[in-house]
Amino acid sequence: MTTGAAGPGRGVEVRLDDLQRRYGNATALAGLTLTLAPGELVALLGPSGCGKTTALRLLAGLEEPDSGRVVVDGVDVTNVPANRRDIGMVFQAYSLFPHMSAMRNVEFGMQLHDVGPAERRKRAGDMLELVGLSAHAHKYAHQMSGGQQQRVALARALAIEPKVLLLDEPLSALDAKVRSRLRDEIRRVQLEVGTTTLFVTHDQEEALAIADRVGVMNAGRLEQLGPPTTIYSRPATPFVAEFVGLTNRLAGVVKDGEVDVRGARLPLVKPDTPNGPAIALVRPEAVSLVVDGDMVPGPLIGTVIATAFLGATSRITVDMGDGTVLAQMPTSEAGALSAGTRVRLALRKDPVLIARDESKPTEA
């Protein structure tokens, strides 16, 4: 395979159909249904134990589902063993064969597929070039950095021209700087070869940055599946709202399809929420701060206790007397704010979600 020939559009459709898997008494997957479009990169995001890795391993054939089906390119592969599924996999770490050079590692899969020596050396060279490691082809795993090892692992997985590429937290063992660079690198390569890809991670930033669509998982279920922007700005469930991005938990009262938060009336994502006290989940970006002459004490008046400069935006922590609220606004507008400034909250009238569990403490 030359990288050009692979090209976009080579990907196949992958369908996970109501997959269930239990380990003893623990349910790892409680019926997962997910379809990846050809060439698409879907990131499964969730806390540890949410079932995302199980989903990936079921797709790889490394585990068997209790029920449900795995369909790749229209073929039911549920009972096909891992080594005949044609699925490339990149593991969390340490997956390179330590007694083989980078080159031999990449060649190995092709050797198993009976590709001739000359051909596989050429292809392995191409793959290493694709991941930018041509100069390190002769090196062994213990002579390479963690990031380089993962690039070789990616090259090795892609060298067999797999129908599907699986990435199992490939960046979690790397340090922050390498992580974001390699993340972009993986995305570039994936777009270049066009292989349908499932990327499993617990890092929301990673998932939002790399994926065409993100699936947020919790307790063996898919909570929401959608483009990163939707996941972030229109979380479908309280879990998604809280797991992805920062969220203020503000006490309020639901009444007739709206929620009253400190006197501000906000629309609800689910207007059929029953009336009564509730916790509204409000993104920091939906909170802006106003400084004007009229600072009569009231439910929307607070005092800045900290400001954090994040670049284009700043994050401001406001003490409301009965708790704190996070606001995020353009740095240009936040310039006048410093610790001790009296401010008035202005809540954007975006639809908000109501938290499931009211006993949970505020985690702003």
Partner: protein, 312 residues
């Protein structure tokens, strides 16, 4: 010599407490302790000198001299006598066979342990018991097998009663096959102890990576686990070889007559009871044994080092 602080404290604690005295005491205390520090190592070096290096020296010098102290290589040519060559052959056969059986058995056991729960009680028990059994040997071990598969042993009698007589042509327990069987008893646990770390270093990802690349169990063992474990396996087998090559007590308890293997020959040459006492020859045999064991354990160390580079 650094760290004068303790002495300062010491001097001022005893003296008037004046700092002047303490400061003045420094160089004196320092130079006095220079000799004392060396004194601290003297017992160790005297003792190891007398009971480790001197015996080694006696072996080396004695193997190269006649009874009158003249230089000779006759003792080494003495090894070429047929009964000693035969003993070396038997020693090597026994050591190789028990090392091979022990290595395979121990590796299988280690694999069974390594694939279980790493914190489990089973693993803990097996590793602890192996530490114990690997140390087990000598007279007691010989007796254990005599009581088991000897001519009046419980297992032999039981099987004979049920129609299986494994001594159709006489008892082989007191001969080479018996020694091999008995040595296996401490070789398998030793193998477990030395080989388990290598198996623990094998990561499950390597098998899964092989599978996802299209390989089956055979490919995994042929191209991945096999080559990875081979140096360690070989090294450990060599260690087992050295282990049984050096063993004396078990054989001495089992075989009361003659000198089937080299250690028994050395013992015969040392004690004059057989009328063949030849200290010079005994020393050259001892030296030959030391050289064999040294070479083998050096190879073991080199092979282990190679594995530790891969498997961490």
């Amino acid at each position: 010599m650094t760290a004068p602080l303790p002495d300062t404290t010491y001097v001022s604690g005893r003296g008037s407490g004046s700092t002047a005295i303490a400061a003045a005491g420094r160089p004196i205390a320092g130079s006095r302790r220079l000799s004392l520090t060396w004194v601290g190592l003297v017992p160790f070096f005297i003792y190891t000198g007398l009971f480790l290096f001197l015996p080694t020296l006696i072996i080396v010098v004695g193997s190269l001299t006649t009874k009158d102290g003249a230089f000779t290589t006759a003792n080494f040519s003495g090894i070429a006598q047929s009964y000693l060559v035969k003993a070396f052959g038997a020693s090597i056969t026994i050591s190789a066979a028990s090392a091979a059986i022990g290595a395979i058995g121990g590796a299988l056991l280690a694999y069974a342990v390594a694939t279980g729960n790493p914190r489990g009680i089973l693993r803990r028990t097996v590793t602890s018991a192996s530490g114990v059994f690997a140390q087990f040997g000598g007279v007691t071990l010989a007796f254990a097998f005599i009581a088991t598969v000897g001519y009046t042993g419980v297992v032999y009698l039981f099987l004979k009663d049920h129609g299986l007589d494994f001594y159709p042509k006489g008892v082989w327990l007191y001969d080479l096959p018996g020694l091999i069987l008995i040595y296996t008893y401490f070789q398998i646990p030793l193998m477990l102890i030395v080989f388990l770390p290598a198996l623990d270093g094998i990561r499950p990802q390597w098998r899964e990576a092989t599978e996802s690349l299209g390989g089956g169990t055979w490919h995994y063992w042929r191209y991945v686990a096999g080559p990875l474990l081979a140096p360690s396996f070989l090294g450990c087998t060599l260690l087992l070889f050295a282990n049984s090559f050096s063993a004396y007590a078990t054989a001495a308890a089992l075989i009361t007559q003659g000198g089937v293997i080299v250690p028994l020959q050395i013992a015969n040459l040392l004690t004059s009871e057989t009328g063949r006492a030849a200290p010079g020859l005994a020393k050259s045999l001892a030296l030959a044994m030391i050289v064999v064991v040294l070479v083998v354990t050096t190879l073991y160390t080199l092979l282990q080092r190679r594995t530790s580079q891969w498997v961490r």
